[in-house]
Amino acid sequence: MVSGNDMGRQATAALPDAGAPLAIELRGISKAFGPVQANKDISIQVKRGSIHGIIGENGAGKSTLMSILYGFYKADAGEILIGGKLTAIPDSQSAIRAGIGMVFQHFKLVQNFTVLENVILGAEDGGLLRPSLAKARRVLADLSREYGLDVNPDALIEDLSVGHQQRVEILKALYRQADILILDEPTGVLTPAEADHLFRILKGLKDQGKTIILITHKLREIMEITDTVSVMRRGQMTATVKTAETSPEQLAELMVGRKVLLQVEKRAATPGKVVLEVENLSVRDENKVERLKGVSLTIRAGEILGIAGVAGNGQSELLEVLGGIARGTGTIRLNGVELDLTGKHSDGQSRRAQGIAHVPEDRQHLGMIMDFAAWENVAFGYHHAPEYQKNALFMDNDALRADTEKKMARFDVRPPNPLLAAKNFSGGNQQKIIVAREIERNPDLLLIGQPTRGVDIGAIEFIHKQIVALRDAGKAILLVSVELDEIMSLSDRIAVMFDGQIMGIRDPATTDERDLGLMMAGVAGKAA
């Protein structure tokens, strides 16, 4: 290795087989944004024809590192070697020329172009499209044969499933003759079956000699598919290990810097009386499209009902109508009392008054005002609460700040500064503020959507504990998550949603991911 200013880390970072050719080598990469050191002296070696995972919490510096590799940022210090050659990557065109392809978390596809048109976009051979398209059609046919990447070249992107769109992104990179493929959180939007298919494709690519860098926060994926894995924490590379020689527990500890409980500890549920009854609930969106199609379910006191499903199958609408954000038709009863679904009492204030608390899926757009200070966000939705009022006219800002300080202490929010704007907290701490605000109202029903999206592992553990504690206090909880692991480990019963309907309800003890995955894809019928 190079410039040995940090021997301990260098030792763990270097473990290629002697003589194996390297696809990529990073040496001492550093990058600062103002006072924030996003990447600090990072060195990695990735062997040709391997799958290398990079894992770390949000804000650990994974994305910055990949952005440097793809030419979006310029490193303050350090060198990049591609195939053993020192390479400068000032922009993404240079990255492509160097054989690097990137598949972003949010696809960069033109929705109303065909697959072919998207593939040649930016890589046209001349002023006329026809020759490029013909060439792309040939190349695509070859690629599909070689790697099992089947996509209809004439289909419009908007007509393709998310899994197929991702394949188009991979094809785009391969068409540009990428030898090194970087995938940023590729499975976030996929069903388990689609994720399996993606992994098969990636293994095929690897067998053909391609090098793959997989960025993820899911330990299971790292264990399943990678050959080596690098762990990042706070801008630094804490370890690089062979996947076969490590365990999820060890990786989690390396990510967080302390021991982490991966499995949620909870005792068996003791469901009481029915708290929530939903019958034949339907919701239409602004374009009059029916997003929720006659859903019925019940939740008892002391029970967590988990809703599994790929994002966009009606889960959001279910939360919104229960939380008083959207309007719907059908019947909802809370503790036997029917709720107003369309009238004056169908708003969020009425729902809160009736004992429903809501941790929304999209915390930054719905759950808080990012420019407001933490203490102002603690009153958000509860700004009518009597304890926050000084008199009929004025709010009691002092009481609010004091209450925020207490909540921050109880929920271990860092930094514990009520005056700091919400946007300056990390995702996990933002979520803790919201969860504290909602849970401490002691609601009869807690709606909680994507409780740990963009939340670091340490905070996940904490938030899961709070949810279970609320259940054990005899409250009903509706949990919506696209993370199947989360649904499986927290729920007492699991309902799977597909296309606005409930495909079936399962006991987590007797079901498995395959069964749920089939229902999430709309395959298994309601018969089960």
Binding site: H358, L366, F380
Partner: protein, 381 residues
């Protein structure tokens, strides 16, 4: 990523913007063969150099405070109220109707009633665009601009055909009764000393009954109401539940809906307050100065209010300071036309440059400063 220190954001950015505006104004003056130094002296002397000039500066500033606050309140709810001009004119109609309705026994009663009239009429004029925005999604920028034209036309019609006393030639209402005459600042004990007449050596002139002051200084008791309004708006926005809801709604409508804040209600209430503030401006000019309702009574103050709010960072304290600056520009600019060969239109150029730099190009200054500060922090780190 990099942020400016708060003091730089609040003080340095407007200061640099102003200096840039001054620099380019000087360039324009040089280009037309005039001396920027002379122009600057005339402006300062005319606006601040005498009690007379001071009186006008404060008079204009009073109007701009109201219209600036009107824009500020709406802005915090994410609404851009361009209709201050029309709301102020219709507010003037409210003032005129109140003042002409009774032979007012004392100005305090008249002021109270006229304030209510001004606010109610201004608010009513803002209510229609607000309703169209809240219920039908018609963009409030467009509708408030259109309502400015409608207001002007309505006022002309009323002045020509309805309110003009028989036999009067010009389109205006009758003069308000004596009991509705507001005291000028030079009539108010404690403040009158600000408006002393001085001789050429700067010494106060002694009259028969003590020190002499300017009579009929246009700045009037409305200034005190404007100052109170600044404070009340600050209380409203940052201390009340309504202000909390207004600000939350302005930052994110989706989040406001999650919190159970009713978008229609907040839009309506905010625009009523905003229109009411714009309407209140007419106390200053219609009741305090003209003492009758004329055409185009607001004289562009509604639009200046947008610049004042922009420059004042939509904070009442900033609005107060920016209003005084614009009062200075207005009065100083008028003096230019009187005492120099510089055309009076130049004041519009100067105001335009100030608006351009403090409002529209504000981000440019901010960007440059952020760049400059990033060097400093880099060196520290």
């Amino acid at each position: 990523m990099d942020r400016l220190p708060k003091w730089a954001d609040v003080a340095l950015v407007p200061l640099i913007s102003l200096l840039l505006a001054a620099f380019f104004s000087a360039m324009v003056l040089l280009a037309i063969g005039q001396s920027p130094v002379e122009a600057f002296n005339v402006m300062v002397d005319g606006a601040l150099g005498s009690a007379y000039g001071w009186g006008y500066t404060l008079y204009y500033a009073t109007s701009f405070m109201f219209t600036g606050l009107a824009v500020t309140v709406a802005f915090h709810a994410g609404l851009f109220n361009i209709g201050g001009e029309g709301q102020a004119q219709i507010g003037g109609l409210g003032v005129a109707l109140v003042c002409l309705a009774l032979p007012w026994p004392h100005w305090t009663l008249a002021l109270l009633a006229a304030s209510l009239g001004a606010a109610a009429f201004g608010a009513a004029w803002a209510a229609i665009p607000a309703y169209l925005q809240a219920k039908r999604g018609s963009h409030i920028v467009i509708t408030t601009i259109m309502f400015n034209y409608i207001a002007a036309a309505v006022i002309v019609y009323l002045l020509v055909d309805v309110l003009r006393p028989a036999g009067q030639m010009d389109p205006a209402t009758a003069r308000f009764p004596e009991g509705a005459k507001l005291p000028s600042l030079s009539d108010i004990p404690g403040l009158r000393e600000l408006f002393l007449r001085v001789d050429s050596s700067g010494m106060p002139i002694l009259g028969a009954d003590g020190l002499q002051t300017y009579q009929n200084v246009p700045a009037n008791v409305t200034l005190l109401i404007a100052l109170a309004a600044c404070y009340v708006v600050w209380l409203l926005l940052w201390r009340t539940r309504l202000g909390y809801q207004i600000r939350a709604f302005g930052k994110s409508e989706a989040a406001a809906k999650y919190a159970g804040i009713n978008p229609v209600r907040i839009t309506m209430i905010t625009m009523l307050i905003s229109g009411g503030l714009a309407g209140l401006m007419s106390i200053n000019n219609v009741m305090g100065e003209a003492e009758r309702l004329l055409q185009n009574s607001s004289e562009g103050a509604g639009f200046i209010g947008i610049a004042v709010a922009l420059m004042g960072r939509n904070h009442p304290l900033g609005v107060f300071l920016a209003a005084i600056l614009f009062g200075f520009l207005y009065q100083g600019g008028a003096e230019l036309g009187l005492w120099t060969s510089i055309p009076i239109e130049l004041r519009i150029v100067v105001q335009g440059l100030v608006i351009l730099f403090t409002g529209a190009l504000d981000q440019m200054v901010r960007m440059l400063l952020r760049w400059a500060f990033s060097f400093r922090t880099a060196r520290v780190a």
